[in-house]
Symmetry: C2
Subunit: 427 residues, 2 copies
C-alpha cells in the first residue's frame, strides 16, 4: 500500500482524485434505449433482453412462494440462526428511526401539520452470481417493512443453476412479497414502468453493475431510487496504539469486494503505517479473492501519515468514506469531529464486518464521497410526507394583504384573486 507523508492541503488534492466522476455517454445511451423499449413493449422487451444478455428463455419471470419456503428449509441451521440474529438486530435498530406525523395548533383557528405515509411499493435489485448477498436483502426489506410498505418486490438475474437458495431464504425471512428472475437495465425499467406481469413500484433500491446503476439514475423522477452506489470504501483512523494486523484485516475486508474498492488508513504514526502496509501484503497472499483485493490495495488504497489528530479527521471528512473506523483511545469523544461518513465503527471491537451483518445498523451506505449529503438506507427512505393546513375565515382574512401583495409582486394575479374570491360581497 502506498504511504503518503504530505501536508493536509496536499493530501486533499490526492484524495480529490479518488472522488472524481465521469459521464459515459455510450452506456447512458444504451441504457436509455433499453428503458424506452421496456416502457413501450413490456414483458416482450424484457424477455428479449433476458435472451440476449442472460442467455435464457423465460416464459414466466415469477418465482413462486413455495420455492422460497423450500429454500428456507434447505439452508443449514447455522445460516438460519445467523440470518435470524441479523433480522432481530436490524429491526431493533431501525425501529428507532420510525417518525411521527405532527400537528401544530398553536394559533386558534389555524391547523398546520405534516402526515407521514409509507410508500405503497418498493423494488429491490439483487445482483446475480457471487455478488448475490442474502444480508443485503434483509438490510433493504426490513426497514421498508418497518415503514409500513405493503408490497416489496425483488428482482435478480436468472442463473444457470438456479437462484442461490440463501438469497431466496433471506427473501422469505425478510417478508419479500414477489420475486422475479430478471436482471440488468431491463429489470430496473420493468420495476419503474411496469409490464403486464410486473406492476410498477414507487421506489427502487439495491446495488448492481454500471448498467443497473445507470438505469436507476435514468428512471429517477419516474420513481424514487435509494442511491447510485459505487465501489466499497473503508477509512480507518488509527494511532500508534492500534493493532497493525487487525487494521490490515479490516482494510482487506473491503478490498476483497471489488477491484475498485478503496481501503484507506489515516494515522499519525509512521510505525503503524509501515506495520499495516507490511501486514496487508502478508495477509493478501492467503485470501481466496486475492486478485481483487490486490488490485484494490494497489490502485485505490492509500495510507496517509498526518501531523495530528485534527488533520486526520479533516482529511477523512474530505474523503467522506462509506465505512469509517475510529481506532483511537476513547473513540466516542471524536464523534463530533466526524462530519461525513456513512457508518462509523468506534474502537477495536467494532470491526467493519460486524456492521455488515449483525449489529443492526444498515449496510447500504453512501459511497464515492456522497456521505457529504446522503444517509444510510433507513426507515425514512420508505415514507413520504404530506403537509396539510386548515384556516378559518378570520385567519385567512388577516393574511389577505400579504398574500395579494406577494402574488402581484410575482405577477400572479389569479393567485391574488383566488383568496379575494372568499370575501366577495362581504359574506
Amino acid at each position: 500500500m502506498k504511504i503518503y507523508k504530505k501536508s493536509l492541503a496536499e493530501m486533499k488534492k490526492v484524495v480529490a482524485d479518488y472522488t472524481s466522476q465521469t459521464i459515459d455517454l455510450k452506456i447512458e445511451q444504451a441504457v436509455s434505449e433499453i428503458i424506452a423499449n421496456v416502457a413501450k413493449n413490456g414483458d416482450e422487451a424484457v424477455r428479449n433482453y433476458e435472451r440476449q444478455f442472460d442467455n435464457v428463455n423465460l416464459a414466466d419471470f415469477s418465482i413462486p412462494e413455495f420455492q422460497l419456503d423450500q429454500a428456507w428449509e434447505s439452508i443449514d441451521d447455522d445460516l438460519r440462526a445467523a440470518l435470524k440474529l441479523a433480522k432481530q438486530n436490524i429491526i431493533s435498530f431501525h425501529k428507532r428511526e420510525i417518525e411521527n406525523s405532527f400537528v401544530d395548533v398553536s394559533k386558534p383557528g389555524i391547523l398546520r401539520g405534516e402526515k407521514i405515509t409509507p410508500l405503497a411499493s418498493v423494488g429491490l435489485y439483487v445482483p446475480g452470481g457471487t455478488a448475490a448477498y442474502p444480508s443485503t436483502i434483509l438490510m433493504c426489506a426490513l426497514p421498508a417493512k418497518l415503514a409500513g410498505v405493503e408490497r416489496i418486490v425483488m428482482v435478480t438475474p436468472p442463473q444457470a443453476d438456479g437462484i442461490n437458495p440463501a438469497v431466496l431464504a433471506a427473501a422469505k425471512l425478510a417478508g419479500v412479497d414477489e420475486v422475479y428472475q430478471i436482471g440488468g437495465a431491463q429489470a430496473i425499467a420493468a420495476l419503474a414502468y411496469g409490464t403486464a406481469s410486473i406492476a410498477p413500484v414507487d421506489k427502487i433500491m439495491g446495488p448492481g453493475n454500471i448498467f443497473v446503476a445507470t438505469a436507476k439514475k435514468q428512471v429517477f423522477g419516474k420513481v424514487a431510487i435509494d442511491m447510485v452506489a459505487g465501489p466499497s470504501e473503508i477509512g480507518i483512523l488509527a494511532d500508534d496504539s492500534a493493532d497493525a494486523d487487525e487494521v490490515a484485516a479490516d482494510l482487506l475486508s473491503q478490498a476483497e469486494h471489488d477491484k475498485r474498492a478503496r481501503p484507506m488508513l489515516i494515522t499519525d504514526s509512521e510505525r503503524l503505517a509501515e506495520a499495516v502496509a507490511k501486514s496487508v501484503t502478508q495477509q493478501l497472499t492467503t485470501l481466496p479473492r486475492t486478485e481483487i483485493a490486490i488490485a484494490a490495495v494497489n490502485e485505490r488504497g492509500f495510507i496517509a501519515v498526518m501531523d495530528n489528530v485534527n488533520d486526520m479527521f479533516a482529511l477523512m471528512n474530505e474523503v467522506a468514506p462509506e465505512h469509517l473506523e475510529v481506532q483511537l483511545a476513547s473513540p466516542i469523544q471524536y464523534l463530533g469531529l466526524i462530519k461525513n461518513a456513512g457508518s462509523v465503527f468506534l474502537g477495536r471491537y467494532a470491526s467493519e464486518p460486524l456492521g455488515d451483518y449483525v449489529a443492526g445498523p444498515n449496510h447500504v451506505l453512501p459511497t464515492g464521497g456522497t456521505a457529504r449529503f446522503a444517509s444510510p438506507l433507513g426507515v425514512y427512505d420508505f415514507v413520504k410526507r404530506t403537509q396539510f393546513i386548515q384556516f378559518d375565515r378570520a385567519n385567512l382574512a388577516a393574511d389577505v394583504p400579504a398574500i395579494t401583495k406577494l402574488a402581484r409582486t410575482e405577477g400572479l394575479e389569479a393567485h391574488a384573486r383566488a383568496v379575494e374570491a372568499r370575501f366577495k360581497g362581504g359574506e
Copy 2:
C-alpha cells in the same frame, strides 16, 4: 374545461396519460456536454455559455452583499412586511421538522446510534425574468438555515435591466450567503463541480427550465438535488356544497403558472362540475396571463364526476397532485384517505395561494405524480445521517459465529478473518 363522467377504472387510464414521461436524448446530450465542459474548464466555460445563451459578458459573476442591502431598502413597506410574515410562519412550521440524533444503549456493552449532521453547503437556482419568485427563495433557504447549513449559495440568470430587487431582498432576508448571476445548465454544473470563483456545494435545489432540470438530474450522484420539478398542479375534491366561483378561482391560480400546468377538479356533483366549468371560462377572460391559463385549462385540465367520495379519493391518489384542496364538509376527517399529495388544503378558507406564500408549509412540492414517493422540501432535506456502533469484546465474541457464517456464505473470507483477528491467541 373538459368534463368526464366515467368509471373509476376508465378515469385511471385517462389520468395515466397525464403522468407519462419521455426521455429527450438531444437535450440530455446537449446538457451533458455543457456539464463536462464546465467541470473541465470552470469559469471560462461558464463565461462562454453566458455570452452564448444570455448575451452578456461577465468579468465577475458575484453580486456583492451591499447590493442585497440596497435591494432590501428599495422595496416598498408592504412587500417588506409580507416577506417578513412569510419568513416568520415558514420558520414556525419548519422548526417542527427538526430531528434529533438517537443513541441505543439497551444492551450492556453495546452502543448503537444515528447522528444527524447539517449539509455543509447548498445551492439554490432561481429562474430569471417573470419566473423569479422571491417567495421561493424563502421556502428554500429558511429550512436549510434551520437545519444548520452554514453556506447557502444562490444563482440566477443575468437580466438586461439587472436582477429583480424583490429577489435580492428575499435573498437578504433569508440569509443567503453568496449570490452569482449565472443561469442554465452551466450554473448547475458550476454548483456541482465548482470553479475558481464558485466553491462547489453539496446539494442543489430550486426550479428551472428543461435544461436546468436535466442538468440537475445529470449531476445527481455527484451532489444531491431536491427533485426534478415539473409543471404546477392543483387537484380539488369538492362536493355540491362548494362555491363554484371559488373552486374555479383556485383552479386558475395554478393554471396561470404554465401552459403545461394541470388544474383538476374531482367531484360527485354534476351541477358543481358544470358551474365550475362555466365560471372558469368567465374568469379566464379577465386574467393578465390569460393565454397561459387557457392553454393549461384546455390541454391539461379536466373535471371528473365520480359516483361517490371513495372513488373521488381513489382517483386523486392515482393523480398524486402537487396541491390538493379538500372542499368537503369536515374535511379533516378525510386526511387518512389521502395517500399521495404534496400539500393538502382543508376547507373553504385554505385557498391554495395561502400555502404558496404565508401559511408556513413549503411550496416546493413533488409534481408529476412523484408525491407517490417524494415529500415537500423540508429541514430533513438539509441533513444527513451517520450511523455509529461501539461493541465491547464480549459482545463481538458472541456474534463471531453468525458474522463468519454469513461472510463465508457470501464468499467473503476477508470479512470473516477481520473479526477473527480480534481473538487470535485468545487475548
